[in-house]
């Protein structure tokens, strides 16, 4: 499997990862990578601030279109490139996206 690295700071050309628009740009690259079945390493180094609005658009929305196994197979977030606060936010967004999606699936089944 081909492996690539997405450096978030380079994609958004800023050390402020705060807007959902920038998050959507990251999302598009990740989604495209999954379709091409490449393993993408996501590098958050050099970011001064990361908001949940950015992360929802960049990562959270992936859970609406991809199952967990697919995400685990093709996307690896380099935890060492995140500060403690950023890491907590990434985990929060991922947990929340999974919960919200499963709520939706339950609603659909009912």
């Amino acid at each position: 499997m081909d492996e690539k690295t997405l450096i978030v700071k380079d994609v958004i050309q800023s050390n402020l990862a705060v807007s959902p628009e920038d998050g959507s740009n990251v999302f598009s690259i990740l989604e495209s990578s999954i379709k091409q079945k490449h393993l993408m390493h996501v590098d958050f180094s050099g970011l001064q601030t990361v908001t949940t609005a950015f992360l929802n658009a960049a990562i959270g929305d992936l859970y609406a279109n991809q199952d967990r196994d697919t995400l685990n197979k093709f996307i690896k977030i380099d935890g060492q490139t995140l500060t403690n606060l950023q890491r907590q936010k990434v985990q929060l967004v991922m947990e929340n996206a999974r919960t919200r999606l499963s709520n939706d699936e339950i609603d659909e089944e009912m």
């Binding site: 959902p20 908001t51 609005a53 996307i75 380099d78 935890g79 500060t83 606060l85 929340n96 999606l101």
Partner: protein, 284 residues
């Protein structure tokens, strides 16, 4: 008869001129069915703001941070101790303007702890809370304008910071989008909005952690107060919540952050100190 009167671009001292115009038109002589259309679409309106009843203390604070001047009230008060963070009036989505403002007036203020210069943790903690709120304003209030100001309190080692929007209030917005919450008080609606995963967005759209993330990140580092419509919600330093119903309405939202600078570590806590459990294989 239809009258269409275009008001000029520049009109000083508007009220007496309009009164004179009405007199010249001799409105009483108009016949039934006549219409008079005063067209102000080309006119620059000059608003005048007057203040009254302001205590000296409030007047001094509003003068120091530039608020009075920004609304056209002359004021001259020097900030002798350089503790005031002046008014920011700009777009909530303009992160570069907000960054420049915070860098200049907060992180380069003489009262910003020098011990933080070797670490980004203090800056990140404060930036994070402020950007989360300004993005929240942009996404939910229907207004893209945000006002901010603050003050250092060197004796107590506090930084107090305020973020205001004049868009839709949190209770109004949530009740409008989620009628099942209509029976909640304004304080309870704000409490709901700060809950984990609570969002007005459809389930298939990721959201609902912005306010939750801020309140969690402020525990042990400061206090958060959210005032919106007729509700005031406050989170204390250790995370306890207090609800205060208000007797008057504020049609927007005021966020007050009180950072206890001596409680925010000057170093970046290491990953090993992270007590949260990584429960997803996506990390490596």
């Amino acid at each position: 008869m239809n009258y269409h009167i275009v008001i000029p671009e520049k009109v000083d001292n508007l009220a007496p001129k309009i009164a004179n115009l009405i007199r010249v038109l001799d409105i009483p002589s108009l016949d039934a069915g006549d219409s008079v259309h005063l067209d102000f679409s080309h006119t620059e309106m000059e608003a005048r703001v007057y203040s009254s009843g302001m205590s000296d203390k409030i007047k001094e604070a509003f003068s120091k941070n530039g608020f009075l001047k920004s609304v056209g009230i002359p004021s001259e008060t020097t900030d002798t101790y350089n503790t005031t963070i002046p008014i920011f009036n700009g777009y909530s989505q303009n992160e570069y303007a907000i960054k420049a403002y915070l860098d200049e007036f907060v992180f380069n203020n003489e009262h910003w702890p020098r011990s933080y210069n070797n670490s980004l943790f203090g800056i990140e903690t404060i930036n994070s809370a402020i950007y989360e709120f300004t993005r929240n304003v942009n996404e939910h209030s229907g207004s893209n304008r945000v006002f901010m100001c603050g003050q250092f309190y060197p004796r107590n080692n506090n930084l107090r910071f305020c973020i205001v929007d004049k868009g839709k209030s949190i209770p109004f917005n949530i009740r409008n989008l989620l009628p099942n919450l209509a029976a909640l008080t304004d304080c309870d609606v704000i409490e709901w909005a700060t809950g984990k995963g609570n969002s007005t967005k459809p389930d298939k759209v990721a959201g609902g952690v912005g306010l939750y993330s801020i309140k969690q990140s402020m525990i042990n580092y400061g206090e958060v107060t959210i005032l919106s419509n007729e509700g005031l919600w406050k989170q204390a330093l250790l995370g306890g919540h207090r609800h205060i119903p208000l007797t008057s309405k504020f049609g927007g939202t005021i966020i007050h952050l009180n950072f206890f600078l001596d409680k925010i570590p000057s170093y970046m806590p290491s990953q090993s100190e992270d007590a949260t459990i990584n429960n997803d294989d996506i990390f490596f």
